[in-house]
Symmetry: D2
Subunit: 333 residues, 4 copies
Amino acid sequence: MIDVALFGAGRIGSIHAGNIVRQPGVRLQYVVDVDRAAAEALAQKYGAKVADAETAFAEANVDAVVIASSTDTHAELILRSAKARKAIFCEKPVDLSLDRARKCAEAVRAAGVACVIGFQRRYDPTFASLKARIEDGEIGEPEMLVVTSRDPGAPPVDYIKRSGGIFKDMLIHDFDIFRWIIGDEAATVYATGSCLTNPEIETAGDIDATAVTIRTRHGHLAQINTIRRAAYGYDQRFEVIGSKGMLQAGNHRPTEVVLWSSGAITADKPEHFFLERYRAAYAAEMAHFFEVVAGRATPRTSIDDGVAALALAEAATTSWREQRIVELPAERP
Amino acid sequence: MIDVALFGAGRIGSIHAGNIVRQPGVRLQYVVDVDRAAAEALAQKYGAKVADAETAFAEANVDAVVIASSTDTHAELILRSAKARKAIFCEKPVDLSLDRARKCAEAVRAAGVACVIGFQRRYDPTFASLKARIEDGEIGEPEMLVVTSRDPGAPPVDYIKRSGGIFKDMLIHDFDIFRWIIGDEAATVYATGSCLTNPEIETAGDIDATAVTIRTRHGHLAQINTIRRAAYGYDQRFEVIGSKGMLQAGNHRPTEVVLWSSGAITADKPEHFFLERYRAAYAAEMAHFFEVVAGRATPRTSIDDGVAALALAEAATTSWREQRIVELPAERP
Amino acid sequence: MIDVALFGAGRIGSIHAGNIVRQPGVRLQYVVDVDRAAAEALAQKYGAKVADAETAFAEANVDAVVIASSTDTHAELILRSAKARKAIFCEKPVDLSLDRARKCAEAVRAAGVACVIGFQRRYDPTFASLKARIEDGEIGEPEMLVVTSRDPGAPPVDYIKRSGGIFKDMLIHDFDIFRWIIGDEAATVYATGSCLTNPEIETAGDIDATAVTIRTRHGHLAQINTIRRAAYGYDQRFEVIGSKGMLQAGNHRPTEVVLWSSGAITADKPEHFFLERYRAAYAAEMAHFFEVVAGRATPRTSIDDGVAALALAEAATTSWREQRIVELPAERP
Amino acid sequence: MIDVALFGAGRIGSIHAGNIVRQPGVRLQYVVDVDRAAAEALAQKYGAKVADAETAFAEANVDAVVIASSTDTHAELILRSAKARKAIFCEKPVDLSLDRARKCAEAVRAAGVACVIGFQRRYDPTFASLKARIEDGEIGEPEMLVVTSRDPGAPPVDYIKRSGGIFKDMLIHDFDIFRWIIGDEAATVYATGSCLTNPEIETAGDIDATAVTIRTRHGHLAQINTIRRAAYGYDQRFEVIGSKGMLQAGNHRPTEVVLWSSGAITADKPEHFFLERYRAAYAAEMAHFFEVVAGRATPRTSIDDGVAALALAEAATTSWREQRIVELPAERP
């Protein structure tokens, strides 16, 4: 039996809790949250106990931790988990500071503990199938990537202020998709953007729409376009052009109902937001984590992936702020 | 130079006129219509002359006639054209009477003149491509057919009264599609229907919605569903299930614009009605006719096809009226 | 806590077991199956006990039974459950005999127990959404229905022999869809069919492809086309034409990946078969059953629905066998 | 009667000739080409005469010229046409030199002659409908644009050498789309690219794949991705995100046939290349030109549009060559 301590009883923590308890041979033992009431409620729902961090780390039979608390706590919890030799699942981003993220990666490596970062998109059935088909050679060498990543609405400005900015908060996923799909290191990053939807975001020093271009060492090209508020909903698509063809990943829709009216033919909008769109991905990601914990798999989204995506986010932030093309050093292994 | 006399200067006659004058080596010489003003207007538009039927048939250098006048004139014009040894293009149906239609076919055969019937759907790029792919073996043996054939609105009741009823007027095309696609003779026909959209149609002794089932001699199955008034527009689809797969023919749309709004994703309705949907088909059909006249092709939609579709329409009418399953005699060659 | 006895530890029984244990406040107490090993395995997986039917019915604290055993056991188990005053979920069909099915319905009514029949399609997100939109008036009055219901392959001939024939085994679902969507009683049924895929099915006295037409008392029309072996997979679509528009229910696909190759644009086939296609429906159906058991809902798919669909299947069987149009008596309330 | 001289009897000249002769009240009088045989053939096909440029310009009753000769002849022919006070239709680009293009624009303005530039995409039914719907306010303010513009194969390297480079030759259309759709002036342009498909293109000093980003004065964003060789065909799509929704322009397909096979669901590839994809656009563009000549319309694609698109192409070329973000001066009216 694998015993788990969950840090964070918020929205994403609840999702993980539900997926943890569905894994055979896995038990949710502790829920840890500064919001005691939230921790209580979640613990009770799944027959777990509330604990503070000290207790959770001290408990020898806690084999694994799932970190879904606020971003500013990730690094410390990773370091303490590594020290306590517990397997780690941690939500993205590892940290807002690239240096601190690298220190976490070193600690994980040194401790020899398993660590999976929550880039759930790689576990999405559509995206994972597309990736497998690239590897099967269906489109030859992947040469170009176009990523469409649009949210249905911006989070509160208070959240944005603490988020590290749009590149670390929102595009971190898209940078990970880029690395995973193109499979070549970024050589230059160019990012521009605007504040189109809410002037308060600009006042907070951030933007809500971006256009990013990455050129890789082998000359492959990637474009990412994002907006915090796509009036029509949550839009998560990408397409990869290879030497022999193209693969597209489309949105998922709640239903396959189509209305033919006197004016037009209409289909459902995409799934509402990430909790709906990536429901299956969150489940598959947690199943994968426990495969890793059980020694039957190696992390598909490692802490090195977390660091690398953060490095791209930092480069993009610099490009946007300083209005220049940023060159990236060769990625460290 | 092939000289042509066109009978009928109405809506479909005008379409044919436009296509006649685009054929290389073909000249529209005469336009014949009881409505002299319509004939004048059309003749003037394309540099032709107005004539009466006698003149047109008497003129030795008229090589071909295109019959697009009202249905009740078709048989007589075919017979006179055959007698005058002119190549014939005639709109469907050949006649409302199966006997008279057969007499026309015999006259055409006896005179040895070319005769193409205006089943324009067979010349539609989508339908023709689907047929070619069946012949290429993409789906193996065609076993089942589902035809969706719906109009955006019923014609005036006065037209319906003279139309021969929904099976001869509207489904004649679908019966031809059945024969063309399934390639096996009908053994039984069952037709039912209702008057759903306009009670005056019922008063006129007709219906405006039908459900037809055909079983062939080899046990293949076809279902046709029609309605005179599909509130959403003109709907022309069919699908063929074969032993190895299925081929679907979809609607054509005016544009490929898609709107993603806050409520739904919406695409264009199908092309408005038959003049728009089958624009390319009408052009290809007329080009084919003059290939036949020039001796470079044999009719792809012969008068025998016209007779056979009419026989199915008559059987369906009987099935509906007498509320019974109608058996069909083996088709005569 | 609601205690449940599950009859049947086969494929569909396992699905139900997984959904039973996910319901809050519900416990799977007993698994009953003539195949003791299957019962043991399923019971162990979900922490339940194996029992024989007598024990299960005798146990006072068993509140509900889920009947997923072979069709020939349904009627007896329903009667015993009613007698024991347990809430009943039973897979379709209620029985192969319409008389016996009616007796079951009477017993259920007399005992005043809740009874839900496993027409899982009504709980499918796509189908349920479509139905809700009809009720919201999006297409006005539903006037025509076209149901496409095709399996990816025929079951073993031994199964077919005991199945009651294609109309009771396969089309029972489509007849239920007809009743649910059109909301009007059948007046006449016409069914024809063929054995197209496997001559042994014909030898067994059955067919593997059908074309059914229903006309309702108000003149509405429905066509159903089915085949046991659609070479391209499991095809579950229907479309409803109303006075103001059309609603279509399309297939679900495993992923939204699209390949653009040098030859064509290709998307995923539909979900493999009913266990995949209706995964969400099976879960929703079981959740509904326990809402009914808890007194918070009334059956959305009642035993009367089960009887009515069976009556249509019997009429269709007669129509096919006797090659005649079958008139249906007005449905009893 | 409007008399026309056509310069250029090549592929695109032939397309224009066919569309010229279909305009009511328009006569193709002269065909001019350095390849006399090509001129002869085209002239004969449409009942025109062959002439040299001097004759064509000297002829007082030539009202309009259509310039479809090689790019290096455009500027001189425009200047001579302006001097001769003839209405001008000229293929894109106006010239490879921005200075010379501006001189042409000034000459046209000074002479007061009508001038339409062949940005045929604006006349495409799909693109034109999308534009009209933006103007109708369907998506509010257009804020972001993503243009996908991919060719099925690169032209010969000899052509590429004389083409002015990928930005002036291929993306000139996309820059025009940007200006037309976004309706705001470019403030900065960033372009990167690679030679991915044929090393000879690199040797010739050009690239075959690009990623371009434009930020406008109001902060709107556009991304363009192109490749000379998309293995799957000609891909011409764009999408515009506005404050209230998104509009997408999709590819056109030759037919609406869909195959459901045992492996996948497959649809037609897009239309083969620009002659097929923009067939309707070429016709509509020529009809528009003669509306302009007749004084019933003003140019929808003016020589100023030609100059402005060229300015963007030049900025993109500089950005790519010098690996820097290029700022654009405010557009001159």
